[in-house]
């Protein structure tokens, strides 16, 4: 029996099977400065970089129950940079002792015609928001401190209002599947940020 043609075989390996390890927490606005100071000291030595991103969440409602969700994100500070399309799978229900939330993650860079393309494919935009903040990195770990802003008029990113009086702090690592030492490193890093911010794994299903 001959092997099926290459186009039918699913793509495995490489960067497709990346898992995202995630820890989340939040700080109030008034505690932001001290957290940024601590992060500047702990993370790799470079100037902290600010970002302003506009994220759109698309849903594809099929006949089955769960809609398929894709996140499209573009940078407001670098308009010429490509869009970033992301798929996040369900959190892996592994052993409870794993310290971080693990889920399958597929990242793709896309050109500026992405929203039109998704609309043509049948996706409908569910909601959008603007995230502004700073990004730090320590080795493979990325710490994103962002303020989420609600977009009042769809498509208009100038008119925004903050969703809350706090900043969202996310510690994430992209690693191939099967590396559990990553969560240990993340946990020890999160320990160093206590008591300024408590990073823990938050199951998104529980929030729904």
């Amino acid at each position: 029996m001959e092997a099926p043609p290459v186009t039918v075989m699913p793509v495995t390996g490489g960067t497709i099977n990346m898992m995202e390890y995630l820890l989340q927490g939040s700080v109030l606005d008034q505690s932001l400065e001290s957290l940024l100071h601590r992060l500047r000291g702990l993370c790799d030595n470079m100037e902290p970089e600010s970002f302003a991103d506009h994220e759109l969440v698309y849903l594809l409602k099929g006949q089955q129950g769960n809609p398929f969700m894709l996140r499209a994100r573009r940078s407001l500070l670098h308009p010429t940079a490509p869009w970033h399309l992301r798929y996040l799978g369900q959190p892996e229900v592994g052993d409870k002792s794993r310290h971080a939330l693990v889920r399958n993650c597929v990242d793709v860079a896309a050109s500026h015609s992405l929203p039109d393309f998704l609309n043509e494919m049948g996706f409908r935009m569910d909601h959008e928001f603007v995230a502004k903040g700073q990004v730090f990195r320590k080795g493979a770990m990325k710490v994103v401190v962002s303020k989420l802003l609600r977009v009042l008029a769809s498509g208009n990113t100038e008119n925004t209002e903050p969703l809350s009086l706090s900043y969202l702090v996310e510690l994430s690592v992209l690693a191939p599947a099967g590396q559990d030492t990553v969560s240990e490193d993340m946990r020890s890093f999160a320990e160093q940020l206590k008591p300024l911010v408590h990073l823990e794994k938050i199951d998104p299903k529980r929030l729904m």
Partner: protein, 633 residues
């Protein structure tokens, strides 16, 4: 006494003789009856006398009966009034005693009431409580001794604590030393141990060495002996493979005669001079970090040496990388790691010359082990090369992606730099050798101070001495690259020369010969002579092996004389002067030309022996020639 008493008792029983009559009849005193005797005895009781006169009592009793019959002999001790009844005195005494007792009883009963009378103790007469002086002295001495002992104990404690403080300050106890260590190095506590990190991981290095050192307490100190000055209560234990010191030795060696040996230099060898306050652990840690740096650089270089493909493959042998940037040139990079136990005598103490380009090499090596991070925009994108993310949207093909991904390795950069350095030094040497060998014309080289690691430039001027302002047509700008030299001529020509030394030399020689001819051209303008013909590359005459010969013909202002100059790099210069016909020695008579005025035309040529002419350089000689051929008005 007993005998006296018995006598007295006997006397009472025997009647006493009162008188003895003349007839011898004794008259006895009538014996007292019992009651009379008792009365008599009662009278004798003296209530005032104390009991110690008890013994004398019976004697007085015995005396008193003698006194009774003789009342006149009463000399005073006892008054005896026989008229009263014998119990009277007794009664009086008793009555007085009763009175006394009543008074006492009254006083006591009044006292018991405590309303009208109270009892107070009477202060003792101090004279009564006077203790002997010896006892006082002893007690004072004892109390003083106790007080002194307390004070001494306290003082001893104070001095001990003071001494301890001073000792501690001098010894800089473990905790304060640990604080100093922590201010300069990264430490963390794992269980009971304190570990530190001396690797370059936080700077972005990906070398797989763990680079952890352990901090241990230095307890092998003998407190009895004097503490040495460099004693430190803290000691660090570095991994065994990082002990000692290491440096990287880069050397470029010649293999053939014409290429010079560019020498050897040691990188990262600086012995950090110990500051007076720095501790031993600091030096140790710095040395270990240096060793780690050298190892990492060498590992990276050897990895690339094996991976990259070049025309002449690189050789990696143990701790040495040998490569040949140019044929005949050998570049060797070796890692020298000495553990410090044995000092190798063969290592020559070469002092690194302050060659600025080799410091640039070291600086580059420092920079190359750090990766410059770029943050992704938008922030949710994974880390990675910024331009590679465009590969998808921009639909790059394989060639573009591979060109993006190919980044120059460390070794390649080093080899390129080495090539450039070598090429530059050889160019300099070529120019200098030519300049020293050839005096006419002169070569001037102006090297640019600001260069890059892969490119330098030099401006070469070929001039004649004394005529710099006139003859400045040959100006060359040489851009020395990694493998080639690009020459930009003043007239706009661009010529690319290879790394061969001979090419440059030949080129410069040809330029110098061209310069001579150009100089004559400029000189003619100044002197008022007319240029009749000029050619940079003449096709006539002997063939030059280097370049081409150039020639010029100039005519005097009056037109009578003309000078022809032909200059070639190999054949040298040839000067011919054309005279008017009437100056020629033998004139060919011709029937066609009859008029005398035709004799003023130029005719035959005569060669000039430049070597025998006066003048320090060619242009000067030409000037003299021109001056000689122009008649003064």
């Amino acid at each position: 006494m007993g005998a006296v008493r018995i006598r007295s008792c006997f006397l009472q029983l025997i009647a006493q003789v009162q008188e003895v009559s003349l007839d011898g009849l004794e008259t006895y005193v009538p014996l007292l009856s019992m009651s009379q005797n008792l009365a008599k005895l009662a009278q004798r009781i003296d209530f005032n006398q104390s009991s110690d006169s008890d013994e004398d009592g019976p004697e007085r009793e015995s005396r008193e009966p003698w006194g009774k019959p003789e009342p006149e002999e009463d000399e005073g001790t006892v008054k005896f009034q026989p008229s009263l009844w014998p119990w009277d005195s007794v009664r009086n005494n008793l009555r007085s005693a009763l009175t006394e007792m009543c008074v006492l009883h009254d006083v006591l009963s009044v006292l018991k009431d405590k309303k009208y009378m109270a009892l107070d103790p009477v202060s003792q007469d101090p004279a009564l409580t006077k203790t002997p002086q010896v006892f006082q002295l002893i007690s004072k001495k004892k109390s003083l001794a106790t007080a002194a002992q307390l004070l001494l104990k306290g003082a001893e404690k104070l001095t001990k604590s003071l001494a301890e403080n001073q000792e501690q300050r001098r010894q800089r106890d473990f905790n304060s030393e640990l604080l100093r260590l922590r201010s300069q190095w990264k430490l963390r506590k794992v269980g009971h141990k304190i570990l530190g990190d001396l690797s370059y991981r936080s700077a972005g290095s990906l070398f797989p060495h763990h680079g952890t050192f352990e901090v241990i307490k230095n307890t092998d100190i003998d407190l009895d002996k004097k503490v040495p000055d460099d004693y430190c209560p803290l000691n660090v234990q570095i991994p065994s493979d990082l002990e000692g010191s290491a440096y990287i030795k880069v050397s470029i060696q010649k293999q053939s005669a014409d290429i010079g040996d560019l020498g050897t230099v040691s990188l990262f060898r600086r012995q950090p001079k110990a500051k007076p306050g720095s501790q031993m652990w600091h030096l140790k840690l710095e040395a270990a970090q240096n060793v780690l740096l050298c190892k990492e650089i060498f590992a990276q270089l050897s990895r690339e040496a094996v991976q990259i493909k070049s025309q002449i493959p690189h050789i990696v042998v143990k701790n040495q990388i040998i490569s040949q940037p140019f044929p005949g040139l050998q570049l060797s990079i070796s890692l020298c790691h000495s553990t410090g136990e044995k000092k190798s005598q063969r290592a020559s103490p070469d002092k690194s010359k302050p060659d600025d380009h080799l410091y640039v090499l070291e600086h580059n090596l420092h920079q190359l082990i750090r990766e410059v991070h770029t943050m992704p925009h938008p922030a949710s994108s994974p880390f990675g090369h910024k331009r590679l993310r465009l590969a998808g949207p921009m639909a790059y093909d394989k060639a573009e992606i591979s060109s993006l991904q190919q980044s120059e390795g460390l070794l390649e950069k080093i080899i390129k730099q080495a090539k450039h350095i070598f090429l530059r030094s050889r160019t300099a040497r070529t120019i200098d050798s030519l300049a020293s060998r050839i005096e006419d014309p002169q070569i001037q080289a102006h090297w640019s101070n600001i260069n890059s690691v892969y490119e330098s430039s030099v401006k070469v001027l070929i001039t004649s001495q004394g005529y710099e302002q006139i003859c400045k047509s040959i100006q060359l700008q040489l851009n020395i690259g990694v493998e080639q030299i690009r020459v930009v001529h003043r007239d706009g020509r661009v010529i690319t020369l290879s790394h061969q030394e001979q090419e440059l030399q030949d080129f410069l020689l040809s330029q110098m010969s061209q310069h001579q001819v150009h100089a004559v051209q400029q000189l003619a303008k100044v002197m008022g002579w007319h240029v009749l013909s000029f050619s940079n590359h003449v096709g006539l005459g002997p063939i030059e092996s280097i370049g081409n010969a150039s020639a010029i013909t100039v005519a005097s202002p009056s037109g009578e004389h003309a000078i022809s100059v032909r200059n070639g790099p190999e054949s040298g210069c040839k000067v011919l002067v054309q005279f008017p016909r009437n100056q020629a020695k033998e004139l060919p008579k011709s029937d066609a030309v009859q008029d005398a005025r035709w004799t003023h035309l130029r005719g035959p040529y005569r060669e000039v022996h430049c070597g025998r002419m006066e003048g320090r350089n060619f242009v000067y000689k030409m000037e003299l020639l021109m001056a000689a051929l122009s008649p003064c008005p």
